[in-house]
């Protein structure tokens, strides 16, 4: 089960992931990301504080946007990941490509352009 909440805050778009991202619902995540980008977002934050699990298919979604972000100068960061999920990002090496922060305030202040 995955619930997606889109929140607009000042110059930021926050996408909150609640539940689990697996092969069956990674398409939903992709759709939401695409919608946000189409609306001309310049600063996208993923709120992963309520994300219990992410499969490789879910990671693939983030990965597929990395080139887009750098081409269009969009600031992108993930925050609030629990230990298990954070570990998944680290093992794959995505922590070197995606800015990952412990909480929202550090993410908003520290996230820089790619």
């Amino acid at each position: 089960m995955l619930q997606l909440e889109k929140i607009k805050e000042e110059n930021r778009d926050i996408l909150r992931l609640i539940g689990e991202v697996d092969a069956s619902n990674s398409v939903l995540l992709d759709q939401s990301m695409q919608e946000i980008l189409q609306q001309g977002a310049t600063f996208l934050l993923i709120d992963g504080s309520q994300l219990g699990y992410i499969s490789s298919a879910g990671l693939g979604v983030f990965m597929s946007y990395l080139d887009d972000f750098s081409d269009r100068g969009i600031r992108f960061a993930i925050f609030g990941l629990n230990e298990q999920v954070s570990e998944v990002f680290k093992i794959l090496g995505l922590d070197r490509l995606i800015q990952i922060f412990p909480d929202k305030s550090t993410a908003t202040t520290l996230a820089h352009e790619p």
């Binding site: 092969a23 219990g52 699990y53 499969s55 990671l59 990395l66 298990q84 093992i91 090496g93």
Partner: protein, 683 residues
């Protein structure tokens, strides 16, 4: 039994004729005796016995005849009765004519000749009465129940008694005769209410039946008149016809004939309703037969349209398909031309023609509409629903206002539902066939993919190796392989394509191609990963990546060189320290960064190994195997298992890991990913 049955009819006929001849002879002798005042020595009982025998044989002849033709339709049977009656009556009339012609001449008054004619007429009359009685029996016992059968048996028994009544009564017209006659007539009337065969005749058949019944009654009347007539003539000493049996048969034949005639007559106006119901039943049955695979949905709609028209007497009709339906049909328009259809369509309010309905609860119902058209005044719209969506709509048009009554709407609704069930069943069947085909394809894919994993793992005597892989779906994205570089260098790899199922399986095949080509170039682990990344970047979908772990073992120096591309860290049990740990080497998954900067993200490290050391390569499917509660199998559990069971051979160790995993997830948990395991143990 069957072979012996046909001669029975002929034998009976032969006996009937012989008995008749004997009867004639006996009677002539008796008359000769009477006329010449001689005692012929033959008592009248002989006549009676022969008469009874004759009746019985005639009965047997016709019973057999009926048995042979028992499957004929009513009309044929009634016609046979009618024809016998006509023959009997004509025989009687012919006799009458002959006597009219001869008048009072010698021949006209000859008692012997008169008796011969009398006997002929008696035979015909008996034949007619008995055959018609059997015909009535057949009609009365149509859709029989026990009560009717009992009544009929009582009647037959009474008739048998009446046959022998002559011995008691001596052919006198007295009270006992009247009493018997009344009883038999009462039974006849009771039996005559069994007329269930009449509604099954259609309009035309009813007219024919009326004619035949009229003829039968006419014949019966003529013959009865002649019987009375001849009975009144004092010239004959022999009287065959004034017995209770024959008179009662007359009564029965006439009574049932009359009842049938009247009921058929009164049934005439309503016969169209009965026919209509019968047609509806047949249509319903046609619709409910499931569509054969070679038939199309179009045929069902065709039958449906015709059924609806005949049920509602519509003056025009068509079926409109939901534009979303993939199949298109032509020619589902009846009695109207296309301009008229378009005209009428425009007269139906738009909102009633909508293909969408707001909620599953308010599914469209059949609805009647008043039309403001010169010729056509009312319409009925019946939606055809499949899976709560509208498949099509039947439009029925009538020239009269409010032309669709409740019964019509209800029966048409039933037709529509039945047709929908047929179409739905047809679709489900096709889907099932299609699915089966996909299953077959997947089985082939599964077989092909299994063949991509090595059957034999290259390894020297200095280490043991075993591997296991299972997929979440029919095919999966996990991969392992081995390669012997030279006699001292061995390589093994484990890979995991992101996602699962068919797309992962395709990428897994590419992975194998890349590994098998690059490894032959003698590349070391980090270099291998760089080249693999660059090769796979060109063929992986944008949101797919592959993680991999590669080991190059140098058995002379007891070292292994390792690089990891985003893959689950390999567990290394060190025999010297008696502990296991996950090897920490930085490295990004393949296909994530699709340019040359990837070389910044991968490194290789060389380690010394000792005898008894174990390497366990995993895919995330094992670590992420979950209990019902959501708890994952995780790193610590596998680490502990390997430490506890380090003495086991790779195959046994692998089995312990898998058993623990399956035990951990339990019946209600799940491993929703491909999972693989490769175990190496150095000697």
């Amino acid at each position: 039994m069957k072979t012996s049955t046909p001669p029975l009819g002929r034998i009976s006929l032969l006996f009937a004729i012989l008995v008749w001849l004997a009867l004639l002879l006996v009677d002539l002798v008796r008359i000769f005796g009477t006329i010449n005042n001689l005692d012929s020595g033959i008592s009248e009982e002989v006549t009676w016995i022969l008469e009874i025998l004759f009746s019985i044989f005639v009965y047997l002849v016709y019973r057999h005849n009926f048995w042979k033709n028992r499957h004929s339709d009513f009309l044929t049977l009634i016609w046979r009765g009618t024809s016998t009656g006509l023959l009997a009556a004509s025989a009687g009339l012919l006799t009458e004519l002959i006597y009219l012609a001869f008048g009072d001449s010698k021949i006209g008054t000859d008692p012997f000749l008169k008796n011969v004619f009398y006997h002929i007429n008696f035979a015909w009359t008996s034949a007619f009465l008995i055959s018609t009685t059997l015909l009535w029996k057949h009609l009365i016992l149509y859709q029989k129940n026990k009560q009717v059968v009992n009544q009929w048996q009582a009647f037959e028994l009474s008739m048998l008694v009446a046959l022998f009544f002559v011995f008691y009564n001596h052919n006198n017209f007295d009270y006992s005769f009247l009493f018997g006659l009344v009883i038999l007539l009462v039974i006849s009337i009771l039996l005559a209410v069994n007329l269930k065969w009449i509604p099954y005749l259609n309009f035309k058949e009813k007219w024919k039946t009326l004619l035949f019944l009229f003829l039968i009654m006419l014949c019966a009347g003529v013959l009865f008149y002649r019987v009375l007539d001849s009975g009144n003539e004092g010239q004959l000493q022999i009287n065959l016809t004034d017995n209770l049996f024959l008179i009662a048969l007359f009564g029965f034949v006439f009574t049932y004939g009359l009842f049938s005639f009247l009921v058929t007559l009164f049934n005439l106006p309503t016969s169209s309703v009965f026919e209509q119901k019968l047609t509806e039943a047949i249509n319903f049955q046609k619709l409910s037969q499931s569509i054969q695979p070679e038939e199309s949905e179009e045929q069902v709609l065709d039958i449906l349209l015709d059924s609806c028209i005949s049920a509602s007497f519509s003056d025009g009709a068509w079926i409109e398909l939901n534009p979303k339906e993939l199949f298109q049909v032509k020619n589902l328009l009846r009695f109207l031309d296309e301009p008229t259809q378009a005209m009428l369509t425009s007269l139906i309010p738009q909102e009633k023609q909508s293909w969408v309905h707001t909620s599953p609860a308010d599914l469209p119902q059949p609805q009647t509409i008043r039309l403001s058209h010169a010729n056509y005044k009312s319409a009925l719209l019946v939606p055809l629903l499949i899976n709560k969506s509208i498949l099509a709509r039947i439009v029925l048009i009538k020239e009269v206002k409010e032309g669709f009554n409740k019964e019509m709407i209800s029966i048409i609704g039933t037709f529509a539902r039945q047709a929908c069930i047929s179409v739905e069943n047809h679709r489900l069947l096709n889907q099932a066939i299609e699915n089966e085909r996909y299953q077959e394809e997947l089985k082939i894919a599964q077989r092909v993919q299994k063949a991509l994993l090595p059957l034999h793992l290259d390894h020297p005597t200095s280490f043991d190796i075993c591997a296991y892989s299972n997929t979440a779906d029919e095919v999966g994205g996990d991969y392992y392989d081995t390669y012997q570089v030279d006699e001292n260098h061995f390589v093994f790899i484990m890979g995991d394509v992101s996602g699962k199922g068919t797309s992962a399986a395709f990428h897994m095949a590419q992975m194998k191609g890349v590994f098998q080509s690059l490894i032959q170039l003698g590349l070391h682990p980090a270099e291998f990963m760089k080249k693999a990344n660059s090769a796979l970047s060109k063929c992986l979908e944008r949101n797919h990546f592959i993680t991999a772990s590669i080991f190059e073992i140098d058995i002379t120096h007891h070292t292994f060189c390792h690089a990891r591309a985003g893959h689950i860290p390999t567990l290394w049990y060190k025999a010297s320290e008696k502990t296991a740990e996950f090897i920490s080497v930085e490295g990004l998954g393949l296909g994530i960064v699709r340019n040359l900067t990837y070389e910044n993200h991968v490194q290789e490290k060389t380690f010394d190994y000792n005898s008894g050391d174990i390497l366990v390569l995993l895919t995330d499917g094992i670590l992420e195997g979950r209990k019902e509660t959501g708890e994952q199998f995780g790193y610590e559990r596998i680490k502990k298992i390997v430490e506890d069971h380090h003495k086991k051979s790779p195959v046994n160790l692998q089995q312990v890991v898998l058993d623990s995993l399956h035990q951990f997830v339990g019946g209600d948990g799940m491993i929703d990913d491909d999972y693989s395991l490769l175990v190496v143990k150095f000697k």
